[in-house]
């Protein structure tokens, strides 16, 4: 009998080697207690959280929590059914109303996760004769959406406007075209030149889908994302987003002005063939989305945090993923996985949690320590974080 698991041996060995060096396992951290959006007890230590996607710090908002508890009492713990059968409660409709208002768009469709939103929409709208033109650094959920469908898949070099245009122009006459972009690319925290790319996509007759998972809530004047910030949201056919980042719970969505959008509810398999979100989750999401509409001050503070951390890390001599701060994600580039894991552990012992990201999730085989800031990080916490990076960086020899 062939052991079907033998294909994973190289990964098992890599992991064993890493742990043999004595480093704390970066991929099985447990948070025993969560004290606030920015603090938790991790592996027994009081830790500042700098590796969550809780950008707007909504997870402990009193109104959000109250809405969740109320829904739990009134509607129970789960729907036990699909959105198209017995799984659409009043809360799901209210959540979709909140999204339509937040984005000022005609249609909103809530999925059980952000992953399923990309998986479902991309695989459903691009058929066998159609072409998907996408950035090579697209999120796994976008790639999996391509794999689940039958369209011709054509990637282009990350954020390369010319490479995208050339490929669009080579698509056979008459074929349907879907350009898939992200507002913020989550590994390096860089943003896309959406204004230029969307203009080219439209000039070449393509529909445009933009994943704004990492920008919702704080980029753009109303927190609608990078497309809003660059003044091209009206040109975007489909915005994909998630509740598991700024919104602070779990779930995914697509908003659109397409006049026939509602048919998606009947044909999109990752929407139809799964249970809908629990009532408490959609209640917390709807409340949070409505509060994010009024988030100007929090947005300003988050940007200030991002600028301070980026500037501080750069001054300490760390190599960063972007020249300037472009989002709430700041990626610190490590020389290799071993030293990255050592730095990650040194930071954890200092009382700081960041994300250790490694291939295949990262571009160009990089090992990254990804820092994601929260609007609830105080200015003092950001200074404390810089002190921890300095000590850990010197102790591990990452900086001189």
């Amino acid at each position: 009998m062939t052991d079907l698991f033998s294909k994973f041996d190289p990964l098992i060995e890599m992991r064993a080697n890493l742990l043999a060096s004595g480093v704390e396992d970066p991929f099985s951290l447990v948070m025993e207690k969560v004290l606030s959006p920015t603090r938790a007890i991790c592996n027994g230590r009081d830790t500042i959280l700098l590796g969550t996607y809780n950008y707007m710090g909504m997870t402990f908002d009193p109104d959000v929590i109250a809405a969740g508890k109320d829904a739990l009492d009134r509607f129970g713990s789960g729907t036990t059914g699909s959105r198209v059968l017995n799984g659409t409660y009043q809360g799901h409709k209210e959540c979709e109303e909140a999204l339509k208002e937040f984005y000022a768009m005609d249609h909103a469709m809530v999925f059980s996760t952000g992953y399923q939103a990309n998986l479902g929409i991309i695989s459903t709208i691009a058929g066998k004769e159609d072409y998907i033109i996408l950035d090579i650094d697209s999120h796994a959920s976008i790639w999996d959406g391509c794999s689940l469908g039958n369209a011709q898949v054509v990637p282009f070099k990350h954020n390369d406007i010319d490479a995208m245009e050339k490929r669009l122009k080579r698509v056979p006459e008459g074929a349907g075209k879907l350009v898939v972009l992200e507002g913020v690319y989550s590994m390096l925290g860089d943003i896309a030149p959406l204004k230029e790319m969307i203009a080219i996509a439209k000039a070449n007759g393509a529909m445009v889908l933009v994943d704004e998972a990492h920008s919702m809530g704080f980029i753009g004047p109303n927190g609608r994302g990078v497309a809003e910030e660059q003044g091209v949201l009206d040109e975007v056919d489909f915005v994909i987003g998630t509740f598991s980042k700024s919104v602070g719970t779990v779930g995914g969505f697509c908003v659109s002005n397409h006049p026939k959008f509602e048919v998606m509810r009947l044909v999109c398999r990752p929407y139809v063939f799964t249970a809908s979100l629990p009532p408490s989750v959609v209640a917390t999401a709807a409340t949070s989305i409505r509060k994010l509409m009024q988030g100007q001050e929090k947005r300003a503070h988050l940007w200030e945090n991002s600028r301070t951390l980026h500037g501080g890390l750069k001054a300490l001599g760390f190599t960063l993923g972007t020249e300037s701060p472009q989002s709430a994600i700041i990626a610190v580039i490590m020389p290799d996985l071993e030293r990255g894991a050592a730095m990650w552990e040194a930071l954890l012992k200092e009382g700081l949690y960041v994300n250790l990201a490694r291939p295949p999730a990262t571009p160009a085989n990089m090992t990254l320590l990804r820092c994601s800031l929260c609007a609830e990080h105080s200015a003092e916490q950001v200074q404390a974080i810089l002190g921890m990076f300095e000590r850990a960086g010197r102790a591990t020899g990452i900086i001189g």
């Binding site: 090579i136 391509c146 011709q152 990637p155 282009f156 080579r170 295949p360 160009a364």
Partner: protein, 80 residues
């Protein structure tokens, strides 16, 4: 352009990616013999696409394992 021309042009395009100077034959495989990783594949495919003004979709790439298959695929894409 006939098959020999396509062959010659792709041979010169492959050079900067053929770090170990492996001798290229029809049966030379990209993943196995040339040890191309996904990033190398993207850059190499982009170079070919630009040279011949074609698209080689990922669906088509999945069918191409060796040098000979690549030449055949490019010849066919050019005729389309």
């Amino acid at each position: 352009m006939d098959r020999a021309d396509v062959d010659a042009r792709i041979r010169s395009l492959i050079e900067p990616f053929n770090k170990k100077g492996i001798a290229i034959a029809e049966a030379t495989t990209f993943a196995g013999d040339l040890e191309f990783d996904s990033l190398t594949v993207m850059d190499f495919v982009a170079a070919i696409e630009d040279e011949f003004d074609i698209i080689i979709s990922m669906n088509q790439q999945a069918e191409i394992e060796n040098f000979g298959q690549l030449i055949d695929a490019v010849c066919k894409l050019q005729d389309d």
